[in-house]
């Protein structure tokens, strides 16, 4: 018999339907993954299972049952007997999902106080046990610490311990690994697999098919509030029946997608003559170092970047990727070493040089003046580039067309554009001064996988057409493998390995690179 049974679940906020008839079951000891992009309704569905859909939500269902109990008739008191006790809930990002002002031990104890008759000292002992079981070393010490005193991985483990405290039959994990570095993500996935091995049922919500592949027995793919396809993991990922699933799978950048298109847009015809000859060195960094307040952020970093080439920089948070990028851009001055653009060293005043190196940020919205329309954003960039006033509009439209937008977007404000469109405008702006290098700082990290696919394809098109070089910063090895020619692997401010992307990822030499590559979740493992 199924532990969870959902039949034709519908959720609307006001007049906006978010979930439009979703049905699924989760058997005892089974793991179901709900996969979808933002706005697909997957998180709302998960929250509805614990009665926390949110304020102003109208929920209806032909059937909504947990262990035979009808949830549609449940009042608040009844929900509270389920929450924590029989259904554990792990929200994404423990940094914000654990009360930052309470010790993690207290958070776990809270569940025990609510759902068990244990005495104070028994609860304390149980907290330590639970933390130890979640793989937290020195659990006694950690229980007395605040969330910010724990590393990201330990924090996520502690959060999972709160969900397991009252020994629930079902654990719901909403994007449990999204904010984590790839090596820690792998550890947390192992922990979740362990929970399943204990015989508990698991509902995992994720935007990442690869994460789900190694955990789930069955996968349900959601789009616009509907499950478009569900079935055994191997079948859905191996022989997807629905075209959306196929599109989603094909959009995931990885080793094997190199040189192919990720989105459904066709490649543009390559112009007869690329603007710059491939092979010329455009940026050369030599022994670059930078400290902030005495703490070295980057040490002895050297690289060369050639025209029409993409150089990736990968590393986990705090590895010095972004500082390296800012130094290459001339926005941060290096303490030691030199950066040359076209053989000329960076100086603050050299604005001609500045125009030659442009940037695309992770969060495009923050990078636009909120008062400006797209036309004004581009006109400003073109003015700096010395394009005469009368030609700017025409050039702006050309740029927009180059990034797959059109003149109809000129009058819009970035706030009114979608995330993918904003990033296209950011790329158009970066192209306006006809630079030889664009620094891309996590340009697709905030985007859904299908939009990411379009932007990555666009970057390739633009490079082919203009011969621009990219310095591409990313934490996502798949993206880097797909797009980059060569890669630098950074750890603790140093370059630990460098080389052609295929060689580095296929035959990593440095132990850290090996660890990084091994941790990447792969669809092939399914």
């Amino acid at each position: 018999m199924s532990l969870v049974k959902v039949d034709d679940l519908r959720v609307a906020f006001g007049a906006t339907p978010v979930v439009r008839g979703v049905s699924f079951e989760i058997g005892a000891g089974e793991c179901l993954a709900l996969v979808g992009e933002s706005g697909s309704g997957k998180s709302v569905t998960a929250r509805t299972l614990v009665g926390l859909t949110g304020e102003g939500a109208q929920v209806s269902a032909a059937g909504l049952a947990f262990d035979g109990q009808d949830l549609t008739r449940l009042r608040e008191r009844g929900w509270r007997r389920l929450r924590g006790a029989r259904i554990g809930f792990v929200l994404q990002d423990a940094l914000v999902s654990l009360d930052p002002l309470r010790k993690v031990g207290k958070e776990i104890e809270e569940v025990l106080t609510a759902h068990t008759a244990l005495s104070g000292s028994e609860r304390k002992a149980r907290v330590t046990e639970l933390l130890a079981a979640a793989g937290v070393p020195e659990p006694g010490l950690r229980a007395g610490q605040l969330p910010h005193e724990l590393s990201g991985g330990l924090r996520q483990r502690a959060l999972i311990a709160t969900a397991l405290a009252a020994d629930p039959e079902l654990v719901i994990a909403d994007e449990p690994t999204t904010a984590l570095d790839v090596t820690i993500q792998a550890q947390v996935l192992d922990l979740l697999a362990g929970i399943k091995a204990q015989g508990r049922s698991l509902l995992v919500i994720s935007h990442d098919l690869a994460v789900v592949a190694r955990l789930a027995d069955r996968v349900a793919v959601m789009k616009d509030g509907v499950i478009v396809e569900q079935g055994p993991t191997g079948r859905v990922l191996g022989q997807p029946a629905h075209h959306y699933t196929r599109r989603l799978l094909r959009a995931i950048p990885a080793e094997h997608t190199k040189g192919t298109r990720l989105s459904e847009t066709g490649p543009r015809p390559v112009p007869a003559a690329p603007r710059r000859a491939a092979g010329d060195v455009v940026v050369r960094a030599e022994g670059v170092g930078k400290s902030f307040g005495g703490r070295p952020a980057v040490q002895d970093v050297s690289f060369t970047l050639r025209a029409a080439e993409t150089l990736g920089i990968v590393g986990e948070s705090g590895s010095g990727k972004t500082t390296t990028a800012r130094i290459a851009l001339g926005l941060t001055a290096a303490d030691t070493g030199t950066v040359e653009v076209h053989g000329r060293p960076w100086t603050r005043k050299d604005r001609a040089l500045r125009r030659d190196v442009q940037i695309v940020y992770q969060d495009p919205l923050a990078a636009f003046d909120p008062r400006y329309t797209v036309a004004k954003v581009l006109a400003e960039a073109l003015a700096v580039a010395g394009v005469p006033r009368g030609r700017r509009r025409e050039r702006a439209v050309e740029l927009l067309e180059l990034v797959g937008l059109g003149a109809e977007h000129l009058a819009r404000r970035p706030l009114r554009l979608s995330g993918g469109q904003r990033q296209r405008v950011a790329i158009a702006r970066a192209l306006a001064p006809e630079p030889s290098v664009i620094v891309c700082d996590e340009p697709v990290s905030a985007l859904d996988v299908s939009v990411q696919a379009q932007v990555l394809d666009l970057l390739e098109d633009v490079q082919r057409e203009t011969g621009v070089a990219y310095l591409f910063i990313s934490h996502d090895l798949g993206v880097v493998h797909h797009l980059c020619d060569r890669v630098l692997v950074m750890k603790d401010g140093r370059v630990v390995e460098e080389g052609p992307v295929g060689t580095v990822f296929r035959e990593p030499a440095h132990p850290y690179t090996k660890e990084l590559v091994a941790a990447v979740p792969r669809l092939a493992a399914a």
Partner: protein
């Protein structure tokens, strides 16, 4: 260690502010038109002889160069000597000291009432039904927009002269404290309630609150145990507002209810151009601000231990 260093820095900053305040009072005295010596003797009407004026100038050091006067001014303040009232002819510290108890009583009663009201209303209405929130929001707006002096007049009209529940003037036991304290408290409750409710509604949307609910916690426990502590921080940082609202409110309230207190002392001093008393009260308020600020900073560290590292 970091906490100690933090306190050390804060003390230094507080001392700097007080030094600035003392300097400001010196500048005010120095640049006020008119002869301070005449003011000491008793204003323009007193018509003192040039000899008397010269004697007063020598006695008060008014004939010395400005930097010596400045040094003497600072030294007197450090020793707790705020000068002599032109009007009362008693030391300013004595004049203030005699009135302090009544004002402290009023301010504490007002602050406690205001805070209690604000917390109660905010906890009860944040993220509740629309009409309830609208009602609370409207009440806060009206309370925060009502000037203390008019509120006092309305309270007197209704409760003293209409219903004859409370006395109209102060200093006659606990019953006479009710209306002034309420008069002081309501605008404060309006402002604090608004801030607290907005902050509470923001906190109640945080993922850790959803997490706590998902653990099976009841609504009251979520609000009191998790949300309130987070929501309180903006209140704590509004030191300037607190001190200003209580002292400024005391000036008006004491005048309106003819209560004893520093506020009334101040108003009569301003009317009589009794500069030493005015500046004495101002210096005292700066001292109160600095001390309260220091306490608040420590309180803040206690509420949010994450700041220890930041400090």
């Amino acid at each position: 260690m970091t906490t100690l260093r933090f306190i050390g820095w804060r003390l230094l900053a507080g001392a700097g502010v007080l030094w600035g305040a003392a300097t400001l009072t010196f500048l005010v005295v120095h640049f006020t038109p008119g002869d301070p010596a005449e003011a000491v003797v008793g204003g323009e009407g007193a018509a003192p002889t040039p000899e008397v004026l010269a004697q007063v100038r020598a006695e008060y050091g008014l004939d010395l160069p400005w930097y010596q006067q400045y040094a003497a001014h600072l030294w007197r303040i450090v020793r707790g000597d705020f000068g002599t009232s032109y009007r009362l002819h008693t030391p300013v510290t004595q004049a203030i000291g005699e009135q302090a108890a009544a004002t402290v009583e009023l301010a504490l009663a007002g602050a406690a009432t205001g805070l209690t009201l604000a917390v109660a209303v905010a906890l009860a209405t944040a993220r509740r039904r629309r009409w309830l929130r609208g009602l609370a929001s409207a009440a806060e707006l009206v309370a925060a927009s009502t000037p203390t002096f008019w509120l006092g007049i309305v309270l007197l009209t209704v409760f003293s002269f209409g219903l004859r529940l409370f006395p109209a003037t102060g200093g006659q036991g606990p019953a006479s404290l009710v209306l002034p304290a309420l008069c002081l408290a309501l605008p404060i409750a309006g402002v604090l309630g608004h801030v607290l409710r907005e902050s509470l509604e923001e906190v109640l949307d945080e993922p850790f609150i959803v997490s706590a609910r998902a653990r099976g916690l009841g609504d009251a426990a979520v609000r009191v145990r998790h949300a309130l502590r987070h929501a309180m921080t903006p209140l704590v940082t509004m030191t300037g507002y607190w001190v200003g609202a209580l002292l400024g409110g005391a000036v008006v309230t004491e005048t309106l209810f003819t209560r004893q207190g520093i506020g009334r002392l101040l108003v009569s001093a301003v009317n009589a151009k009794d500069l030493p008393v005015v500046l004495g009260v101002v210096l005292l308020s700066a001292l109160v601000y600095v001390v309260v600020n220091l306490v608040v900073d420590l309180l803040y560290l206690a509420i949010d231990p994450r700041l220890k590292e930041a400090a």
